[in-house]
Every structure is written in structure tokens, then in C-alpha cells.
Symmetry: C2
Subunit: 266 residues, 2 copies
DNA sequence: TAGTGGTCTAGACCACGTG
DNA sequence: ACGTGGTCTAGACCACTAT
């Protein structure tokens, strides 16, 4: 009972708290998938299709339990995991909400640059360019596209305290970010990822970063107001959305005099 | 009921699953602490005092439930959190074990340097020096010691594929690491943290790192076989043991040509 | 076969936020 | 006063591991 990943919330699964006599053939479970995982999948699906949008409240645990025909505890465990993965946010007494990149909390999950005194400095973005082109072999591979598929390239500077501190080159799949132009980028206030989720329905869930120390090349050095050869932090990021589909490749160069990249090992 | 953080597992808390009529005065809860958190504290205490040592199995959930006079579900939730924090490891069918730095799994939780191809290269450590001295003001502050308290300084090189790749300077509180000498360091096979937990009963639980790109100073450059001024990753780590007490300050210089520091944002 | 952790349920009560 | 998530319990059954 309760296995079959192909048919979520199938109820050959009679709860049967009445002792013994557990219904029909237990039927060996080839690939066992817990009920709450199936529920988790269904909830994720509703998030993905936009049934519940970022910032909105989702149905209460009892409602979901009724909807999926499982106990509240099972829904709870599913939501627990989704909250741990930052897809949902629980607020006691109020309800459970779809996470968004607009919250204070989420800001420093992706840009972890702090000032030497440990303070989070606000920063402003300066757009350098935004144009459409064909993916290089390398970018295509990372974005899971075919070579020469259309992509959007964004280049921008981040200023901390008025000083150029971060240079970003961002590649996005053109098919997903149809209609993304320099104008719309310039208009939008707030984090890039907040715009992506609001305007293009694409939410960044997780990312991996490869970090190196490199010598600034002349063009980069110039933009960051440091001498050529100056040590910079090179941060190669790939971001993923639902289903672990890569939807962003980003290379950043960080000036780390007066600032540092904060990481917690736990 | 069930509040009072001062008196863990106090049972003014009659389960009373019988409907209604919940015992005496509910008594406003000034600082509410869930039962499972109290249990978690008790288990942590047993870990700290060494009642259960790294690698050993701890009592089963039912045993612990009986011992603490709570339900199995409550013990389960406490253990769940401790497992999530990497203090315990659950193994279905076998039991729950105290985590150790000897496991494969734990190795790359603290040294996240991978080769460009993504492979985890094995490395060998070369001890440069190990001596006792008095803490500088800066080190004392970070280790929560008084200035000029005794500390141990370890300097070592890590070789990847025979190439000097990491230079580490490690400061430890002398009082905790009494009897730590170059000889004992040289003898010990395996990760440093495995030795610390086995020989000195000090287990590193979590750490924070501040990462920068810096130009190699001559002395450092020389040891790492790179030219002076070469870009290096500077990693400043503070490690904590039970009770969030800092017990290690470490500065590392990483050569990141052919290797990168891997980080996952999630 | 016995023991361990893992899943699922159902119901009671608590703490928090809002009317 | 009501609804939400949060805690706690108790019991049944499943999956895995060892003997």
C-alpha cells in the first residue's frame, strides 16, 4: 500500500486505524515513495503552475488534508519540507505563504557580500547592457539548451556605498525571458530575482556557485576602478527553478577590499 | 503547561488525551519552550559530556522516550533536528549514531575545494610547525579568551595531486588542546577534526567563513609555489563546538587554478 | 523473528494573530 | 471568539537490518 509513485494519493491506502486486518494484498513495493512525498509533489505542482503565486497564502493544512484525502499530519510533513527548502513560509496564526524574493529575509540568500564590519550594505544596480544573442556552446550546455539557441545577456554593475564593487554577466534562456529589454530592466525597482518571478513567472529556487580568486583583466578592472591584475573574487553561478531546470548562468567579479563573501558551514 | 525552560521535562504536563478538563491552571507561559526542545537539550548534554561518543549508537527512540517520560514522537522530533544539524546520524533498521568527522560524508563539509572537473581530490597534509604561544588581542577576541592566554598555532600545507594548494594557519585555545604537539599531529592519520574529537573530545559543529580574494604575500607565495602578488582565495574561518563556543580560528590561502571553492545556495 | 527507524493517522490542546 | 500553525500523544503498520 501507499507506494506507486505514478499514481499519487492513490488510496488502496485505507488508513485502517482499526487494529489488524489491513485491507487487501499489501503488494510488494518496488519503489517505495512515502505519501507525504507525493503530497509534496502535488503542492510543488500547484506552485509551479501558478495556482498559488509568490506572496499569496495557500490553503490551510486542514483544507489541503481534505483536498488530498490524507491526514493533517501528512500535509504538515510535506509543508515542513517545502518550508525548509524556502519554497513556502509559515507564519503562526496567519497561515502558510508562497515565498518571494521581495522579502528582507531572502535578499542575502543569493548575494552574500558583507562589509568588513559585518553590516549588510544596501546597493544600487547600474545596467551596462542587455541584448539578445545566440548561446555559445558553453552557455548552451549549462542552460540545457541547443547551441545557438537565443539567450539574453545582461551586464551590470553593483555599487556599494557609491563604489563599483560587483560586475555581473548574466545569461538567460531567451525563450523563457521573452520581452525582457533594457527598458523594462531599468524601470524595475528591487532585486532582479523579484522581477523574474513577478514578470516572467520564473522563480529561482536554488543555485550552485564556483568561487575562485582571479587577476582582473583590463576591461573588468576598468569597470571596477581597480588596477589590471588586481585580485578579484570570481563567482560562477548556475541557478535552478522548479524541477531543477537551470534558468540562469551568471559570472560575477567581486572587489573584496572592505567587503567579504560570507559563508556558513553547518 | 509544558512551558518553563528552567525545568526541562517537568510534568505539570499531564498528557490528558481524555477530552476536555485539562487539569489545573494553564498558568501563562512567559517564555515558552516546547517539550521536544527540552529533550533536544538533554540529548545534546549527553553528547557533550561524552555519555555517547562519536561513532557510537545511542539508545533507541522508545528507550529515550521511557527515560525522559515523553512519547516516542517527541523524542523523534528532537532527534530529527539533531540529525538535521549533523550531530546525529539515523540509519534505518540499525539505530541512531553520534556523528563523527571520520565519515566520508563529513569530509567535504568543511573543505570544499574541488578540481575543475568536479572531482574530490584526495589530499595529503604537510605539517610546517606547531607551537604554543600567547594569543594576540585579535585571536583572543575571536576565541573568547583573555589576551595573552595560551594558544596553539599550527601551520600546514595541503597538497592536491602533489601540488601545494592550501596553506593553513590554525589557532586553538591552549587550555582545551593540552598536550597537542607536532609529534602527535604527525602520527595521526586522517582529518584534523577527526583527531580533535578523538583525542581532545572537542567536536566542531559548525563554522563561519569570510572569503576574499587577495594578492599573495612573498612568504605565502613562496610556500604555495606561485609568484608574489598571485591571486589567492583567503578563507577566514571560526569553528564552534557545543553551546556555540568558538574553539578554532583558521586562516587559509587557497590556490584556485585548477580548483574551485564549491558553494550551494539553497 | 525481533528490533530499529520511518510513515500515517486521529484527536486534544497550546500559542499566535485577527477580528 | 475564531482560525491558523505548533506541540504532544498513542497506536498501528511498513521498511530495513541483523540474528
Amino acid at each position: 500500500m501507499r507506494a506507486m509513485s505514478a499514481n499519487p494519493v492513490s488510496h488502496a491506502n485505507s488508513p485502517a486505524p482499526e487494529s489488524g486486518a489491513s485491507a487487501s494484498a499489501p503488494a510488494a513495493s518496488p519503489t517505495f515513495s512515502p505519501l507525504y512525498q507525493q503530497i509534496k509533489g502535488l503542492i510543488t505542482q500547484s506552485l509551479e503552475t501558478g495556482e498559488w503565486k509568490p506572496g499569496e497564502i495557500i490553503p490551510s493544512e486542514v483544507e489541503l488534508a481534505a483536498r488530498y484525502k490524507v491526514s493533517q499530519g501528512t500535509v504538515r510533513k510535506a509543508i515542513d519540507e517545502l518550508a525548509a527548502e524556502n519554497l513556502l513560509v509559515r507564519r503562526q496564526g496567519k497561515g502558510t505563504f508562497v515565498a518571494t524574493h521581495n522579502e528582507e529575509r531572502a535578499q542575502f540568500r543569493f548575494l552574500r557580500l558583507l562589509a568588513d564590519d559585518g553590516a549588510e550594505h544596501p546597493h544600487v544596480s547600474r545596467l551596462l547592457e542587455c541584448r539578445r544573442l545566440r548561446a555559445s556552446a558553453d552557455i548552451a550546455r549549462q542552460l540545457d539548451l541547443k547551441p545557438s539557441d537565443p539567450v539574453v545577456l545582461i551586464r551590470r554593475l553593483l555599487q556599494f556605498d557609491g563604489e563599483n564593487t560587483v560586475l555581473d554577466e548574466i545569461w538567460l534562456p531567451g525563450a523563457v525571458f521573452r520581452g525582457l529589454t533594457a527598458e523594462r530592466l531599468a524601470e524595475y525597482k528591487g532585486p532582479l530575482y523579484a522581477m523574474f518571478e513577478a514578470e516572467f513567472g520564473t522563480r529561482m529556487i536554488r543555485a550552485t556557485e564556483k568561487i575562485r580568486a582571479v587577476a582582473a583583466e583590463p576591461a573588468v578592472a576598468d569597470l571596477l576602478n581597480v588596477p589590471a591584475g588586481f585580485p578579484l573574487l570570481s563567482v560562477d553561478r548556475v541557478s535552478y527553478t522548479y524541477g531543477d531546470r537551470p534558468v540562469e548562468v551568471r559570472r560575477g567579479w567581486y572587489v573584496t577590499t572592505g567587503y567579504y563573501y560570507q559563508n556558513d558551514l553547518s
